[in-house]
């Protein structure tokens, strides 16, 4: 499976995601932001970081680059697309997932390990989990507070993927920290599954998200 890892100027989790994709047996390849034709790829990860320095608003400039057109074409073919952290913010900016990620309740950058609840297993990334299972993955962001005016719709359409379990570190509405589009193939998540890929580093719970591509 050839999985594209998108690189914007300012991306900084691209190498980590690349390494973990390799670890689970996928064939990762970097894609520079000005590539439009992604037809060769079986799936895409938009990794975390600070694309274009996040100077205007997190993800806003990345959302209007040529590579986004390529991603939209893949989505039409129901290829899996995973946006992590800054990648999630970018998917929110484009409107490929419902809702947006805004500045944390306490606006400081916040890096910590959190417990998450798997709310749906219908996405490729959560299909190997049991619904309701608790997993441990770290977050690291200043603009990750999920907001939507239509929580009930998301519930009805089973689009809530992950929720904070005991502690909500950023003020997200209904503890939501990951959502998917209606198809379930496009998923945005603020926590970093690639950072939970080794027991030595704290947990291996993130590996299944990447195995979902295979």
């Amino acid at each position: 499976m050839k999985i594209g890892v998108i690189k914007f100027p300012g991306s900084n989790c691209d190498r980590d995601v690349y390494d973990v994709l390799k670890l689970v047996g996928a064939k990762p390849e970097y894609i520079w932001w000005n590539n439009k034709d992604l037809t060769d790829f079986d799936g895409i990860v938009i990794p975390g970081g600070f694309s274009y320095g996040d100077y205007l608003r997190a993800g806003s400039i990345a959302s209007i680059t040529p590579v986004i057109d390529g991603i939209k074409d893949l989505i039409k073919e129901e290829k899996p697309v995973l946006g992590i952290c800054n990648g999630a913010q970018i998917l929110g900016e484009i409107g490929l997932i419902p809702g947006v990620f805004i500045t944390n309740e306490n606006p400081k950058f916040n890096c910590e390990w959190v417990d998450l609840k798997i709310n749906t297993t219908r996405t490729p990334f959560t299909k190997d989990f049991k619904k309701g299972k608790t997993i441990k993955i770290p977050v690291a962001h200043a603009e990750g507070r999920f907001y939507t005016e239509d929580v009930d719709l998301l519930k009805d359409q089973d689009q809530i993927v992950l929720q904070f379990k005991d502690k909500n570190p950023n003020g997200s509405i209904e503890n939501i920290t990951s959502v998917c589009d209606e198809s379930g193939y496009v998923c945005a998540m603020m926590p970093h599954p690639e950072r939970a890929s080794d027991d030595l580093l704290g947990s291996k719970d993130g590996l299944k998200f990447f195995k979902g591509f295979i």
């Binding site: 100027p9 300012g10 950058f109 890096c111 770290p138 030595l200």
Partner: protein, 716 residues
């Protein structure tokens, strides 16, 4: 201008003519304390700098230490004190930026940042402002470039009120055959400048750093450079791509002293000359004078020394990453650095004059150290414990480190808050990094304080299971023109050297920051010591209690050494008397005994380790309990002591060379038998409270509440 009359005459004697204004500016910067180390160089030579794992000692942008067959670690440490006092956000950010560039210049990928920061007490509004914005500056910069900030230290003391300290340590990973140096060995190669453009910011930044701060220093705000982490990230990515694809013959970043410093040092280290085409330098502002261009300290700039044939490829890489690049000069034979404006020669100076100014043997006067019998009324143990653990100097630093992305690059095995940070290198080994300094001890006895600061940082690394390999430092002192300050500096370095030498951990890189005085108020002298250790993954140990009934073992003798302690500062607001002595022999034998124990611990009998330092046995045990949810009970009569002392002195004494470990109860006898240094079982992990001599002092959860909310009480 800070050139002295003697220096001006010295320069004239070599040039046999007067300097022009541009040349005077260039020399002024290069002769500044910050660039030339003119006061400190003769003393710094006391440091041991060579050893079996050392690839490169001091002199280049960073030191290099071998960590296995394949990799070396490039490590450096830098201060950004003066800029941070004036503009904390930008000053701290560019401090991180500067040390990152130093590491990249060695051909390495930065993998970890540690920061040692010091402020006035948090009751003071200005100190809170500085603290908040320094942390934000480090956070915004490190996070955006994608380098994890994994550790460091934090101190609040009256002496740092007007002169905060911001020291940043960075480690980078480089394959041994891809190491780069700051050299320009081939005549005909070009100087390829890339990254940020050159503007008017930071002109005379180093001169500003080489004077005392005054009330008027606020007006020097333009001497503080502007931080631009997004450009730095692009510079990093483009540099890595250039290293990968082009045979680079030398590399150096532009920091203090700007182009003048960078080009003259590159050429001088290869005994070559250099020519600079002023008109080829990409500028950010209009009508900049040659003086401004050659002295600008604009950030995020690097110079690569390249073969002419590779220039096109290098330009293409920079274009891809959307950063400017230009060939700004050439390596020439001869010994001079020449600056051309169009075709007019506007400066012509020997590179050696720029890069190697004469050192100064300034006078020194010993300070009389004051031993003193101090008799104080000790509060109840419970009261002192609560006050200590909720003091910002000993409480949890989570408010700080959760603002740092300490996970990016997925290597961080032991997270901030433990003795040292552990970063995984491959499936076999990891490195341990720690930064530490005891400023009260150093004030009261510079020799013991300097020695103790290195010892404590080494103990941190050993506690995590790692063998210390090398030391880096950032030496923050007052005005070296004061003979007592310079004596303090020399004594401190003698002490540091003794411990570093005894652990076979040479000092491979460092930074000196003098003039940390503001209108007569001197900082407590601060030798921030970074230590690099290496360990096998299976030897990683952490500080938190693991299992009920594990036995608690204390390694090392305890002396009645309470003067200069955290206990005195926090409880009695006192920094007097002689601090704990360094006893190098037992320091080394205790440390090595523990390392041997861990490396042969096939049964995993050692379940937790924590070094004993600020706050003594009481705080060490409290921290081990607080990072778990388990309590403990000790019998104070089991502590091996030298002489009689009160219970508070026994539990808060800061005698060096001690470690506390927990051991599986069934292995206790074997472990004690194996330890051939003074050690005893003093208690066990048990229940949920802090218990001494069968008396419950306090429940751990009550202590935790204080510990976890101390900084938060002051900071939003």
């Amino acid at each position: 201008m800070t050139l002295t009359q003697y220096e001006k005459e010295y320069i004239q004697g070599i040039l046999k003519r007067d300097m022009n204004l541009l040349e005077e500016g260039m020399l002024d910067v290069m002769f500044s304390e910050h660039c030339s180390y003119k006061s400190s160089r003769p003393i710094l030579s006391l440091f041991p700098s060579e050893g079996e794992n050392i690839i490169l000692g001091p002199g280049d942008d960073a030191g290099l230490v071998s960590i296995n067959d394949k990799y070396a670690l490039a490590v450096g440490m830098e201060s950004h004190n003066h800029p941070s006092a004036i503009e904390p956000y930008g000053g701290a950010g560019t401090g991180v930026g500067g040390i990152l560039r130093d590491i990249i210049s060695m051909g390495a990928m930065p993998i970890a940042i540690l920061d040692s920061i010091r402020f006035g007490p948090l009751e003071d509004e200005k100190s809170r402002y500085l603290f908040e914005h320094v942390v934000k500056g480090i956070s915004d910069y490190g996070n955006r470039v994608g380098i994890p900030t994994v550790g460091g230290e934090l101190e609040f003391d009256e002496s740092f009120k007007a002169n905060p300290l911001v020291n940043v340590m960075c480690a980078g990973l480089v394959e041994k055959d891809k190491i780069l140096r700051a050299i320009a060995p081939n005549v005909g190669d070009v100087f390829f400048l890339m990254g940020g453009t050159t503007g008017r910011d930071g002109i005379h930044g180093v001169t500003f750093a080489s004077e005392e701060l005054t009330e008027d220093s606020e007006e020097d705000r333009p001497a503080v450079q502007v931080a631009d982490p997004f450009t730095k990230k692009k510079v990093l990515e483009a540099s890595l791509e250039i290293f990968e694809n082009i045979n680079v013959s030398g590399c150096k970043d532009l920091g203090g002293g700007g182009l003048t410093c960078c080009i003259s040092e590159l050429a001088d280290s290869s005994e070559n000359g250099a020519i600079i085409y002023l008109n080829e330098i990409p500028l950010r502002e209009e009508k900049m004078t040659p003086y401004e261009i050659m002295l600008s300290e604009s950030q995020e700039r690097m110079v690569f020394v390249l073969n002419k044939e590779d220039v096109k490829k290098a330009h293409a890489i920079c274009e891809k990453h959307e950063i400017s690049s230009s060939v700004i000069g050439e390596v020439k034979s001869g010994n001079n650095m020449i600056v051309l404006d169009d075709n007019t020669e506007i400066a012509n100076l020997p590179t050696i004059l720029l890069a190697d100014p004469p050192s100064i043997n300034r006078p020194m006067t010993p300070i009389k150290l004051k031993d003193k019998e101090i008799n104080l009324k000790d509060p109840e143990l419970k009261d002192s414990l609560l006050k200590m653990i909720s003091s910002p100097n000993l409480s949890s630093k989570k408010w700080v480190y959760k603002q740092y992305d300490y996970e990016v690059q997925i290597r961080t095995a032991v997270k901030p808050g433990d003795d040292a940070a552990i970063l995984k290198i491959d499936d076999e080994i990891a490195i341990a990094l720690s930064a530490d300094s005891n400023t009260i001890h150093t004030k009261l006895s510079p020799y013991d304080g300097g020695a103790g600061s290195v010892a404590e940082s080494i103990r941190n690394v050993i506690s995590c299971g790692a063998k210390p390999y090398a030391v880096v430092d950032c030496l923050n002192f007052g005005n070296p023109e004061n003979p007592e300050i310079l004596w303090q500096f020399q004594e401190c370095i003698k002490g540091m050297s003794e411990v570093a030498r005894s652990f076979n951990s040479p000092v491979i890189s460092g930074n000196v920051s003098f003039y940390n005085e503001t209108e007569g108020i001197k900082i407590n002298p601060t030798p921030a010591c970074g230590v690099i250790g290496v360990l096998e993954l299976e030897n990683i140990r952490t500080m938190e209690f693991k299992n009920e009934n594990d036995k608690i073992v204390l390694i090392g003798k305890t002396y009645d050494e309470i003067n200069g302690s955290e206990y005195h500062r926090t409880i009695h607001n006192l920094e007097e008397g002689l601090p704990p002595k360094i006893r190098v022999e037992s320091e080394v034998s205790n440390g090595l005994a523990l390392l041997n124990l861990i490396s042969s611990d096939d049964k995993k009998a050692i379940t937790a380790v924590h070094d004993c330092s600020a706050g003594g046995i009481a705080i060490t045990l409290a921290e081990m309990a607080l990072s778990s949810d388990l309590g403990f009970e000790i019998d104070s009569s089991k502590i091996i002591t030298e002489g009689e002392m009160s219970l508070n002195n026994l539990l808060y004494s800061e005698t060096h060379g001690r470690y506390i470990l927990t051991v599986k109860s069934e292995e206790l006898e074997n472990v004690l038998n194996e330890l051939d240094v003074p050690s005893s079982c003093i208690g066990e992990v048990k229940g949920n409270s802090f218990k001494v001599d069968s008396k419950e002092i306090i429940v751990i959860s009550d202590l935790k509440n204080k510990y976890n909310n101390a900084l938060e009480k002051y900071m939003p």
